[in-house]
């Protein structure tokens, strides 16, 4: 970032001489500093998982949610600023509600992703505002089947089979790429998602964290919901076990 301090990076309404909008890149930086969020689109549903980093043991577990619901059937997971996330979730709810009141049908994933993208993009245009410091992952099942989209601070929105944002996105992406997503069931995907979040977690940097898991599938009545307690416990157990196995493997490698 050689343009730091040259004055071309102070406003979203200013391009740098090489055609970049630095304020958007800086907003992206806020996303990259946050706990990891992933989404997996599998054959019978979508799974969202978030690594919720906790700065204190005094925080109440399973409160302070990072995955939220917009209009019953859409799940929103996010990496980045929590207060910006809430703003965007509120917008997503308004969009879902608005669409429903006009068409009396649930808003399709593609449409809400597009509308959210437009909204986020508008905050990259004017010097009077700053871009959102979050990447939001949208999950839902509509008439075309399971859907997964990610909206970035630039306003870019892309459909995915699997996606990741936040600190551990590189590790997470590598792990997701190894999965055969179109063959997995949500039940299996929940476990994989937990494993990936645990793998992406950096013990050295953040000690405390909590896994948040949600899904949209037949079991949740095609609505977005946090997974039941037993499913969550199973997934965590699975994740911890596979993390231990990895450690063992590494130790064996060292022995050799």
């Amino acid at each position: 970032m050689t343009s730091i301090g040259t004055g071309y990076d102070l406003s979203v309404s200013t391009y740098s001489p090489d055609g970049r909008v630095f304020q958007v890149e800086y907003a992206q930086k806020a996303v990259d500093n946050s706990g990891t969020a992933i989404g997996l689109r599998v054959k019978d549903g979508v799974v969202l998982a978030v690594e919720k980093i906790k700065h204190s043991r005094l925080l109440v577990p399973q409160s302070n949610r990072r995955i939220m619901t917009a209009g019953k059937h859409i799940g929103v997971a996010s990496a980045g600023w929590m207060s910006d996330t809430r703003h965007l979730v509120k917008r997503a709810r308004d969009e879902a509600h608005n669409y429903h009141s006009v068409y009396k049908a649930d808003i399709p994933a593609k449409i809400i992703a597009e509308r959210m993208g437009m909204y986020v993009q508008a905050y990259t245009l004017y010097s009077s505002v700053r871009p959102f410091g979050v990447s939001t992952i949208l999950a839902c099942v509509d008439k075309d089947g399971p859907q997964l989209y990610m909206v970035e601070p630039s306003g870019q929105f892309v459909g995915y089979r699997g996606c990741a944002a936040g600190k551990g996105k590189q590790v997470a992406k590598t792990e997701i790429e190894k999965l055969k997503l179109e063959e997995l069931t949500v039940r299996e995907a929940v476990k994989e998602a937990a494993r990936i979040i645990y793998a992406a977690h950096d013990e050295a940097k953040d000690k405390l964290f909590e896994l948040e898991l949600s899904w949209v599938c037949a079991e949740s009545g095609m609505l977005h919901a946090h997974v039941p307690q037993d499913v969550l416990a199973d997934a965590i157990q699975h994740a911890e076990r596979s993390l231990d196995e990895d450690d063992d493997d590494e130790m064996e490698d060292e022995d050799l």
Binding site: I4, Y26, K29, L59, V60, D84, S127, R130
Partner: protein, 245 residues
């Protein structure tokens, strides 16, 4: 003071992905005296140290009632807190008017969180320079939330904000696992113990500068000041005497 070119307004990101104006607003919270909040299975308590600008002046109010089931404690710019408490009161009344039910505490803090977020995104505004501890009791039991100038709200078993609040937080972290079973009275005393740790050298908690607030399952939001706090302060002294023995 340090200064950089990214810290003039809330609508500019720094290259590291920070918004300095929000960070600075969080500093304003530390200018206020400390408040401590903590909860048991049935009750949730706030304790606070009040400051008086001069010997001839009265003490600055720290705990504000929102509704029968909800109250807040303030650290930072009190006038900003009044804007937020007015808003909370309006929302609480609206919930009663429209649905005939007490506003769920989590939704109340989310509402002020969302309000505060706007101030961190638009040019020509400043973030609220106040931190709040919000306590309340609803269908899902007692709750304690922290509201910060960034618009982030978080739920805690026990927490403290304001000047030297780190000492209180350390105290709470050491003890919070026992809070669940405590009686209201024990909870207040436990809170005062944490609060005492934030007092500067040579200053003591007394009935003039201490404020206590609590709410619970069958207890409406209550605020104690002056003589009302004395019994609890006496118990604090007793408990301390026991400790030293």
């Amino acid at each position: 003071m340090f200064r950089n070119q990214y810290d003039n307004d809330a609508s500019t990101w720094s290259p590291q992905g920070c918004i300095f104006q929000v960070d600075y607003a969080s500093e304003a919270v530390k200018q206020g005296t400390a408040v401590v909040g903590l909860k048991s299975k049935t009750h949730v308590v706030l304790v606070a140290v009040k400051r008086s600008p001069s010997e001839l002046a009265s003490y600055q109010k720290k705990i504000i009632r929102i509704d029968d089931h909800m109250g807040i404690a303030v650290a930072g710019l009190t006038s900003d807190a009044r804007v937020l408490s007015n808003y909370l009161r309006t929302e609480a009344m609206r919930s009663k008017m429209v649905y005939g039910r007490a506003l769920p505490v989590g939704r109340a803090v989310s509402a002020i969180g969302d309000k505060a977020q706007t101030n961190t995104q638009e040019y020509g505004r400043r973030p609220y320079g106040v931190g709040l501890l919000v306590i309340g009791h609803d269908d899902t039991g007692p709750h304690l939330y922290e509201f910060s100038p960034s618009g982030i709200v978080s739920e805690y078993y026990g927490y403290s904000i304001g000047a030297r609040s780190q000492s209180a937080r350390t105290n709470l972290e050491r003890n919070f696992e026992r809070f669940e079973e405590l009686s209201l009275q024990e909870l207040v005393v436990q809170g005062l113990r944490a609060l005492r740790d934030t007092m500067p050298q040579g200053k003591q908690l007394d009935s003039m500068n201490t404020s206590i607030g609590f709410v619970g399952m069958d207890t409406k939001m209550t605020i104690l000041d002056g003589d009302g706090t004395q019994p609890y302060l006496d118990q604090l002294d007793e408990a301390e005497a026991m400790d030293t023995e």
